[in-house]
Each structure stands twice: as structure tokens, then as C-alpha cells.
């Protein structure tokens, strides 16, 4: 009898019975010169398109919606954006119910997207793309692509960028309501793409004063009301995409990729200064003036995983650490154009901040990005951190992650599932079992380059090696997404 592992790993077998929807395939035909992960997404979106179950059976207790966000518009006429991070956000909803899955997707109707559309070309600025001369840029939300992550707040969905306001999205039809003003006097304050939701429901986030060594701190109730806020003085004007939060501490890892000049586009204002090392600022949740700074060797990162405190005061957090910045101006451009990249590889790393004021990295040689944990463990001790990693065979073309992994820090082992050469694996999201506190599933979207289709796989989170328990295939490929959130029904 064929195991589910070998069945799914034989990619051709997996899709043998899956007829492609030719009409939908036409959507991306015009972009055939672009790498599949970076083609223009569907301008008119999808509305509850059924996905085909190509393997296994859905767990009966798994009901809800996996929302995901990521840049999805890279080309207008003869223009190609200068950076992956600058594409307009496409919100996708994978709805799982009754053993079936369907897929909806809609672009966030941002001010940026509207102005670009009206101009018939990209005119608005981004992380790696300069503004066209004279483009109307009155504040950060004019440039807000709302393309990076999502946050569920009560019965709404917020599409997040990192340097402007959240965009309010209807979780049912994915329509855009507009930028969220969290408080009148805090309009247009940056709200990063990596809010941390504590088990008690409190939402913590930061926003950088790009170019200056300050951050704004947000503490929101579970209903989105501002209950804490303040300006935090940082040890350097570092670029920080993600941070970490424990039960009592807010942790700002400041890599030596530092804003040194005002040179549009934004990424060109950053300078890599490894001689300065990486400093970690730790602030008390209850008292923003209670600060400690730890010093670590240089490293570059986009993402942290989870953070927690040990009884003796030691603080630990996962970080996908590279020896130098990845996806800088050159790489962010090359990845859209299908060029060969010589990217620095981020590796799964544990940062350890000790009570005596010293700190160290516990390195591994395992490549990793998009680390996530069981949301019930946010800020608490975890042993399993889930991520993407590189499998046995990868290419140097852009995005190299084709394997999903659980790193177990307690046992020092990895549980992996390698989808093979023609599959790109996106950030895994943990969906807790509705009533078993130690159980859950890992939801893993993939983009199949050979079959030109986006798929969604569900794993038993405690056993990735045996492969998905169910896999669904969409009728068409969507560009790669960054981050998502599980919303249980």
C-alpha cells in the first residue's frame, strides 16, 4: 500500500486526476515570462472558487478560514517593480468546511493601487521602488500597499503593511473599507506587519520612525482599542521588520542594517554595518522606561518566531538569522525578474539573553524562514517552531524553500516534509484543535511550478514527515504570499 508520504511526494501522481481549469489558466498566460511566484494576481479576484481535493480527507474538526496576504501585482505595461515587497496586497481566503475547501482572493483597494491604476503605471513609492516625479505622496498611507500580513480583530480583518495604518477588510467578501484610524491623534502612525497577540488577547505592535532611532509602541485590546502607547528610544535607526514579545517583555532586535542617508527608494537608505553587531533592546510591558540592552554578533533577519522567559530571567527567542541582509535592493529586484540569486541563507537560530546581561546565539545549520508557533504558546515556552526550509534539491532562482519543517529545540531534531524541486512552500500556519490543547494542524500553502497551481495542504502538526492528511488544488496559481492568520469557525 502506498503511504501518504510517497503518494504526495510523487508530484505527478498527486495531480494526475486534477484537471486544470483552462479559463483560469489564461489569467497568467500573459505573464509567462515572469517567474510564477511573482506574476500578477487576478485583477478581479476570485469568489469562493472550489478547490479540488487531490489527496486524503479533511480532519472533521478543522473548520475555519485561512487568510493570507502577499504582494501580487508586479507589472504594468513595460514596467516591473523594483522590489518584491512593493506589489499590491492580494488577500486570499481558503475556507475549509464540511471536508471541502474553496478559495477567494481580492486585491486590497489601497490609495496606492488606485493612484497607480489611474496613472496606468506604477507611480507610487515602496520599499525598493521610488516614486515617480510629482506623484502625490501626502503621507505614509498614500504609499501603503497593505501587502504583508493580516490580523483578525474582533469580526474584522486588517491587512497590514509596516509603515502605515492597517487597512480594514471585510472578512466575508474581502472588500476594502480603508485605512484604520486607531485614534484620531494617531492617524497614519506606522503599525508593523508583525503584531503579537498574547494568549490574553492583548495585541502588541510597533511602528518605526524610519530614519530615526525611535519606534512607536501600540498596545491594543482584543477589540482594537488603544490601551497603551508611547515612543521608544532605540539604540540605532535599524531596519526592523519583526520583533518578539514574551509574557512581560517587548523585545526589539536591532540588526546593523541601519538607515544612514535619505536616498529614495527606502532600501537604498540602509547601510550594512556588521562591525556594530546586533543590539537587542528589552522593555518592560508595564514600564516602557525599564530598559535593558544586550549585545550580540552581527546578523540580519526579517523574522523572529516565538519568545519566552525562563524562571531565572533568561529570555529566548527564535530568529531566522542570515550573515548579511537578504532581499536588499538588488535581490528584491532580481527575484521578480527570475535572475539567479546568491542570497545569504537565513538559518534557524535561538537568541539567548541572560540574566547577567550577556547574550549569545545558538546557531543551527538549518535554513529557515517564516517561523511560526502554536498561537496558544505566544510569549510562552515552546519547543516546536514551524517554518519553511530548503529540501534536498533546490535552485538558485529566487525563492528556494520547498520543504516544511518543525524544529524541536527540546530534542534538537527536525520533522520535515520535502515537496521536491518544483514546489515552493509558503509560511505554515498552526490551526489549534478546537478542544484538544496539545493538538493542532499545520496549514501549508504551496505553489506548484510544473502544474501551475496553488495548493493547500493540511498536516498533523505533530507529524510532518508522513505528509499531508489532505491536499487541495486551486484552479490557478497565485503569486507567493507572505503571512497569514487562521480564523476558526
Amino acid at each position: 500500500m502506498i503511504s501518504r508520504r510517497s503518494f504526495v511526494k510523487g508530484g505527478a501522481t498527486l495531480f494526475a486526476g486534477a484537471a486544470m481549469n483552462v479559463g483560469k489558466a489564461g489569467v497568467f498566460a500573459a505573464d509567462s515570462f515572469s517567474p510564477l511566484g511573482f506574476h500578477n494576481g487576478p485583477a478581479n479576484g476570485y469568489d469562493n472558487e472550489p478547490m479540488q481535493r487531490v489527496f486524503g480527507r479533511a480532519p472533521k474538526d478543522l473548520t475555519g478560514v485561512l487568510y493570507r496576504n502577499g504582494p501580487a501585482h508586479f507589472r504594468r505595461g513595460d514596467q516591473t517593480l523594483n522590489h518584491w515587497f512593493d506589489g499590491d496586497g492580494l488577500v486570499r481566503a481558503f475556507r475549509i468546511a464540511g471536508g471541502n475547501a474553496n478559495l477567494s482572493a481580492q486585491f486590497v483597494k489601497t490609495i496606492k493601487r488606485r493612484r497607480d491604476e489611474e496613472a496606468g503605471r506604477f507611480i507610487m513609492p515602496g520599499f525598493g521602488t521610488p516614486a515617480a516625479p510629482g506623484a502625490p505622496v501626502t503621507g505614509p498611507d498614500d504609499a501603503n500597499a497593505a501587502n504583508t500580513a493580516l490580523l483578525s480583530v474582533e469580526d474584522r480583518l486588517w491587512a497590514l503593511w509596516e509603515a502605515g495604518s492597517p487597512f480594514d477588510i471585510d472578512p466575508n467578501d474581502l472588500s476594502t473599507n480603508g485605512p484604520v484610524v486607531l485614534r484620531d491623534d494617531l492617524a497614519q502612525m506606522p503599525f508593523s506587519a508583525h503584531p503579537k497577540v498574547s494568549p490574553d488577547g492583548m495585541i502588541w505592535n510597533f511602528g518605526l520612525a524610519y530614519g530615526h532611532p525611535f519606534a512607536f509602541l501600540w498596545g491594543l485590546s482584543s477589540r482594537g482599542a488603544v490601551v497603551r502607547s508611547g515612543i521608544i528610544n532605540l539604540p540605532s535607526a535599524s531596519y526592523m521588520h519583526d520583533w518578539a514579545v514574551t509574557q512581560t517583555k517587548l523585545i526589539f532586535p536591532l540588526q546593523p542594517w541601519v538607515f544612514t542617508r535619505q536616498q529614495p527608494p527606502f532600501v537604498r537608505s540602509l547601510t550594512w554595518q556588521p562591525e556594530n553587531g546586533l543590539k537587542v533592546l528589552v522593555v518592560d510591558k508595564d514600564d516602557f522606561d525599564n530598559r535593558q540592552i544586550y549585545e550580540l554578533p552581527a546578523g540580519a533577519f526579517f523574522h523572529t518566531g516565538n519568545a519566552f522567559e525562563e524562571p531565572d530571567g533568561t529570555i529566548r527567542f527564535d530568529v531566522c538569522l542570515a550573515e548579511r541582509p537578504t532581499l536588499d535592493a538588488e535581490e528584491g529586484s532580481a527575484i521578480l525578474r527570475g535572475g539567479t540569486l546568491n542570497r545569504a541563507t537565513p538559518h534557524m537560530t535561538m537568541a539567548v539573553l541572560k540574566p547577567n546581561g550577556t547574550a549569545e546565539f545558538e546557531h543551527t545549520s538549518i535554513s529557515a524562514e517564516f517561523p511560526r508557533v502554536d498561537p496558544r504558546q505566544e510569549g510562552l515556552r515552546h519547543s516546536r517552531v514551524y517554518s519553511v526550509t530548503e529540501g534536498a534539491l533546490t535552485t538558485n532562482m529566487g525563492y528556494r524553500f520547498n520543504t516544511v519543517m518543525a524544529m524541536d529545540w527540546t530534542t534538537g531534531t527536525q520533522d520535515t516534509f520535502d515537496f521536491g524541486l518544483n514546489v515552493l512552500v509558503e509560511e505554515p500556519i498552526f490551526a489549534p484543535h478546537p478542544n484538544k490543547t496539545d493538538h493542532g494542524w499545520l496549514l501549508v500553502p504551496t505553489l506548484h511550478l510544473d502544474k501551475k497551481a496553488t495548493c493547500l495542504h493540511v498536516f498533523d502538526a505533530s507529524n510532518l514527515y508522513d505528509g499531508p492528511v489532505v491536499s487541495w488544488q486551486a484552479a490557478a496559481p497565485l503569486p507567493l504570499s507572505f503571512h497569514g492568520v487562521w480564523s476558526a469557525a
Binding site: 516614486a131 520612525a209 530614519g211 530615526h212 528610544n233
Partner: protein, 163 residues
């Protein structure tokens, strides 16, 4: 303390995402600038502004400049006025101007505190507008972009406050 250090930066510009720069307090004017001035020059030209706001609330504050340095903050406006925003559309006129080149910086003082409100990073959070339909681009448009060259008689322009 943190706030104090931060304030120093507010006097410059602050970078937003993607090096989006916006001069803080771009329409803030010296105290007293927004008093209705009595015309002291020979009445030769009139500049009338049609004002469009999206909320009938507070007042629209308009400062009229006759030179790039003054417009850029190195001088006083030649005229300034406060127009209560009681409706969505209003007009106001500056009469008795010398024919020449002028530009306007204006903001909609929604909360009526007589200042352009900014967020903690120094970014304007009340609507603003410039003459000649000029738009902000990482800060206020240049004097040249906002400039209106007027001769004798009446010239009309529109100040549209978008958000």
C-alpha cells in the same frame, strides 16, 4: 525625556516608509498670521478661492504668500484668513492685491485649535491643500508648482481638501 529628544527631530523632516518624507508643520504659520488683514496696497487684483471640504466642521486656514522664501517658511504670508467650514463649499477672496505671483498653503482645522494637528511622528493629520491644484510630494509642493500669476481683476482658483 524620550519625547524631548524626539521633538528635536520634528523640526526637520521625518522619513516614513520607503523614505517618504513629509515636512512637519508644513502649513503651520507664525502666531497671528491668520488674522484678517486690512488691505493696505492699491486695490488692483482679486484672488478668489473656491473651497471644497469633505466635512462641515472647524475652519479652513489659508495663508497667501508672494515669494518662494516666504512660502518656504522664511517669511510671513502677505495675507491670511480663517474661513469657518460651515458648509462643504465656500468661497473667500483676497482683494486689493498687487498683480503678481502668489501661492497658498491651507489646511482644514477640523478640531478648531488654530494649529495643523500632527501625529506623534510629526506628520500632518488634518487635511491640507495648495493653490493651483498642486499636490504634496514628500512634503509641500514648491512655490512654483503652487503659484498663480494674477493680473488686474478677479482670478479664481480652487482649494480641494481631499481627506
Amino acid at each position: 525625556m524620550v519625547r524631548k529628544i524626539f521633538d528635536r527631530h520634528l523640526s526637520k523632516t521625518i522619513a516614513i516608509a520607503g523614505a517618504v518624507l513629509f515636512a512637519s508643520g508644513s502649513v503651520a504659520e507664525p502666531p497671528g498670521a491668520f488674522q484678517n488683514g486690512a488691505g493696505t496696497s492699491t486695490p488692483m487684483a482679486t484672488l478668489t478661492f473656491n473651497i471644497e471640504v469633505i466635512k462641515a466642521q472647524g475652519a479652513v486656514m489659508i495663508a497667501l504668500f508672494d515669494s518662494a522664501p516666504a512660502y518656504g517658511g522664511k517669511g510671513q504670508p502677505v495675507r491670511a484668513t480663517r474661513v469657518p467650514a460651515e458648509k462643504l463649499e465656500m468661497t473667500t477672496s483676497f482683494e486689493g492685491l498687487k498683480p503678481g505671483t502668489y501661492a497658498v498653503k491651507a489646511y482644514h482645522d477640523l478640531d478648531g485649535d488654530g494649529q495643523l494637528s500632527v501625529n506623534p511622528f510629526g506628520l500632518p493629520i488634518e487635511p491640507f491643500a495648495f493653490s493651483n491644484g498642486a499636490q504634496a510630494h514628500y512634503g509641500p509642493p514648491s512655490f512654483d508648482k503652487a503659484a498663480l500669476t494674477i493680473g488686474a481683476g478677479e482670478t479664481q482658483d480652487t482649494l480641494r481638501f481631499a481627506k
